[in-house]
Symmetry: C2
């Protein structure tokens, strides 16, 4: 009797949701080894469900860029981001997020300053009691940036950014020893500019934060790569086109 042993309220409906959470956690924890192939049958039996929900979950994970699909050969986990991929990702963020910060820094009801302030005090409090600071920090970072992007009010940009799952990927290679204080301080700077309704300052603060953030992550690759800064060419290029 292959009954589902996961949640006591094992009615039925939570199947795909449970499987998604489980597989995603497995990949993020590195239990499946980046680049390895995923056996649908093995996973389904190990989780006590059928193959259909597992396949559905795999297709969703493909949208998250956590697995790749080869027709006729099944699914494999994606390898960790290398430095060029990380740079591409942060260049994209540098294209989108300063624009979002500028859009958010206006005197309107959409101004997210209050929500950002709450988020900042929450994370400060949470780090005091500090359990699993790494997870907390990434979660805070996600919420902070998502809030700003949301208040920019462009669903297409928001969706495109969400599809990159940048926080999800950076979580995979987040060094355990990073000090969150710097990140939070930069967040506070961004929030102040937004609260003051100064678009230029907000844009620049966000751009600076992303550049610094990339530099911090790039140090995880130290020794093997060049570490040249994100923007190489001279004149301070406007990311905002008229």
């Amino acid at each position: 009797m292959p009954t589902r042993q996961s949640s006591d309220a094992s009615k039925s409906k939570a199947a795909v949701s449970d499987v998604y959470a489980s597989m995603r956690a497995s990949i993020l924890k590195g239990e499946i080894a980046p680049g390895a192939r995923i056996n649908i049958d093995a996973v389904s039996r190990s989780l006590g469900v059928s193959q259909t929900p597992v396949r559905e979950v795999l297709q969703r994970l493909e949208g998250d860029n956590l697995v790749v699909y080869s027709p006729g050969r099944g699914y494999s986990t994606t390898p960790l981001l290398d430095l060029p991929a990380l740079r591409s990702l942060f260049e994209f963020r540098l294209l989108v997020e300063p624009w979002a910060a500028r859009s958010a820094a206006v005197d309107r009801l959409a101004n997210p300053a209050a929500a950002l302030e709450k988020e900042l005090s929450d994370i400060r409090a949470s780090l005091q009691t500090g359990v699993d600071a790494r997870q907390e920090l990434v979660a805070h970072d996600t919420r902070f940036h998502d809030t700003i992007l949301l208040s920019a009010g462009n669903p297409v940009v928001q969706h495109a950014f969400a599809q990159t799952h940048c926080h999800l990927h950076t979580f995979r290679l987040y060094p355990a020893d990073i000090d969150g204080a710097i990140t939070i301080a930069e967040h506070a700077t961004v929030r102040e500019a937004i609260a003051a309704c100064q678009p230029d300052r907000a844009e620049e603060a966000m751009a600076e934060h992303i550049r610094n953030s990339f530099a911090r992550f790039a140090q995880a690759f130290e020794g093997k790569a060049d570490l040249s800064p994100l923007e190489s060419d001279g004149p301070p290029r406007r990311h905002i086109v008229i």
Copy 2:
């Protein structure tokens, strides 16, 4: 005997591929009526396949934003883009594509001027013999913009842009009477700037092209909507929209 009658070489493997092409065409042609729910069982029986490949296809179509999924209620086709959604889409393009044009307008092997020139002469020739100009024009537009984006050399930006499927959506509301000559002329301007390796000019030409393109599409909404241009109010707001 529920044999598959689609392709004569009905080995088996083409199932999901066939279904995908078929459903996608149905939605784009409007045969399923935007906003209507999709009955998995009906589709599977009508195409002579089982429910599993249909579900797989629906999940892929969800990534294309052609259907939406409600847990427990299945899939529905997405409604046609309304004016605000179209504006959001073109604002995203205005954020990404001028940057890509700038990045492409450099004196490197990645410079796509030659490919763009071939693309332009191809479409000009194709329009002479003109069969189904609408389809040809959208296909050309897709290739032209994709080429520029590709040579910008950022996979993340490229993927994020591809995920918007902007040409796929604009195809759904492409007016039949639009004259492609203007579009092609603007493309030629962009190409010239890229060929001349003038980043500023390329960036501006692309931005101008996208603004004009939006204006042309917005005319499809004439009568029902405000038709305010992308940047409505007085001070140059750097395309921040409410």
